[in-house]
Assembly symmetry: C2
Homo-oligomer: 363 residues x 2
């Protein structure tokens, strides 16, 4: 892994080029990326303040002092206890600024505190900086992403073995969560989406008590966390024997996935991958039924740069890792989505997921 | 349950008194409270914009259109698809404003979009409004909170039965999660905190591979979600027979919990409950080892108003529900915390948790 010092240097180069005096990072992926410290974001102000020069300052509630103190402290740790005036603390720690960048995930409440203290400061989004650094994964990160993807593959294989008509969406979601953890996932990257039959047309459906039935497509979308890095896989099984029309619909999505994958070569603009996958679905007459972007980057966050979406002309570079997940959604009827995580290399795109993409019928 | 229309009316009364033209609410508790709609917050703009008069506008990515369209639409649903210019959408939907309030949990990135579009608008935190309305629970909410607390009690009873030396923190956490779900929790309110032995001094410790050992205090802090409402309970068991010193330390925390509970009567300022619990711990010589506030309100969020903390002089009112969770943390040695959820009624405080608070020794 690149050391925290190396990462900080990269970040500071971008701060300089964008004339950003200070970076305010929230608990979560950005704070972890630069410090290795994990906390739970909540209403208590937690922020890593990174000046263009000099030591970064990590501001945390007193209760995190011991945990943060255990890590290698190349930053100044400032803990605060209840009753303290945070405005004074920030003003004295940071001083007046012209231009600062703020973590896009910082809570607006904490951002308002910064705005009120720093008066004249102009704020921009820190994602232009942090996203640019984090978007290219080093070898350690690629290995972690590979392990994480492998956990997802193994859980999908378990799901294929255990899934039965009569099982509820919630039961299947719980089975998958437990499988991921039993194989060694340190966490799940998000709550599993299990969307069966007509629920399938809701891309972010939350599992309910609905029982899987013969004739259902079942969309299963989930991921693991390994060494902090997320995976994300989607497969759509068919309960029973699929008729010709269902097979054809599935084939279109599988072809869109494959075409998107083939388009993901070094130098191609991100939006070209989206356009390639979308063209397959549109060509089959379902353009209006593919109601989301083709993919998103993945790493410490399960959604991060690069976004595989219309309007993103940034060229793909080796070390970029993202999902390709085209889908067709027929309102009130069904959904089909097939998703793999793909890494860009100099010799072409590589899938991190190995689980088969062919239609699986549960008979 | 109060209808969405009644809730909106309450919110608007406060908007008027605070001269707030518009309220911008994020996906999560506030959006759910006013619409019944649940989505997953992410980098795609989702916001419920509530004007002081006229129909609220719910702005969501296209992929949520079907789900949002299913609910009773007393608001205008505006969905956007990739490639659309959100600034134009917001500007045309909302128009120029003088003063707006923003959800404290809205992501800073989305808040920046609003700031940039709404130029001259002065922003304040919406928590003064939404917190004030949500802080008093109606009968439906109290029943849900009771069911949620009951799930937590039952899971704690299971933990008491199953916990063994040699079990890891992670195994115990997984057992508790599965127990909560098997009893019918629709979700967990946060990732269980299982902190054994020396890990106990980290109030928000994330469960690790450490095995429970004889002589450990084990802090177990978790909660369920029922009908959207969270519970939160903490108990600290002892593995083996506790010696006199350990028993005495535990007794202090139990006494602090009881004293805080007795202080939670209608009309008392929130900070008096904190002071009452804290005085017990300070009186025993451990004032510096109680490194967090005594409690937090609970409802659709597991942390919300009222905060039981120094500086909060707001008087307790019937229908307020919050945690009382004093603790003692000895760095590198142990932690002890005992937490119940308490509701204020006209005839005094009532505990929603029934699981015993006496020291349980696992022998």
């Amino acid at each position: 892994m690149n050391s925290y010092a190396q990462r900080l240097e990269q970040v500071r180069r971008l701060m300089a080029s964008q004339e950003v005096d200070y970076l305010f990072l929230a608990p979560g992926a950005n704070m972890f990326y630069l410090t290795g410290i994990r906390t739970v974001p909540d209403e208590r102000l937690q922020v890593l303040a990174v000046p263009r020069e000099g030591s970064p300052i990590l501001i945390l509630p007193e209760m995190y002092g011991e945990a943060a103190g255990r890590s290698q402290a190349w930053f100044n740790l400032v803990t605060w206890c209840d009753g303290l005036d945070l405005s004074t603390l920030i003003a004295s720690a940071v001083g007046p600024l012209k231009r600062a960048a703020v973590d896009k995930k910082l809570w607006a409440g904490h951002f308002l505190t910064l705005i009120n203290v720093l008066g004249e400061c102009r704020f921009v989004e820190a994602d232009d900086i942090m996203g640019s650094v984090r978007v290219t994964k080093d070898d350690f990160e690629l290995e972690s992403l590979g392990r994480s993807a492998n956990l997802a593959d193994k859980a999908m294989a378990q799901a294929a073995e255990k899934i039965r008509p009569g099982m509820t969406e919630k039961e299947l979601a719980l089975l998958i969560e437990n499988t991921l953890k039993s194989f060694g996932a340190e966490d799940i990257s998000f709550k599993p989406i299990i969307a069966s039959g007509p629920n399938g047309s809701l891309p972010h459906h939350s599992p309910q008590e609905r029982e899987l039935q013969r004739g259902d497509f079942v969309v299963m979308d989930f991921g693991a966390v390994a060494e902090g890095y997320c995976s994300d896989i989607t497969r759509t099984f068919f309960i029973g024997r699929a008729d010709a029309a269902s097979r054809e619909l599935y084939r279109v999505v599988q072809q869109a996935n494959e075409t998107g994958f083939q388009a993901a070569s070094m130098g191609a603009p991100c939006e070209r991958v989206d356009a390639a996958a979308r063209a397959v679905i549109a060509g089959a007459g379902y353009g209006r039924n593919f109601i989301h972007r083709t993919g998103h980057g993945i790493g410490l966050d399960y959604h991060e740069d690069p976004y595989i979406v219309q309007g993103n002309a940034a060229p793909l570079q080796p070390g970029m890792v993202f999902s390709i997940e085209p889908g067709i959604y027929l309102q009130g009827k069904l959904g089909i989505r097939i998703e793999d995580i793909v890494a860009v290399t100099e010799s072409g795109p590589v899938r991190l997921n190995q689980f088969p993409r062919e239609l699986i019928e549960i008979t």
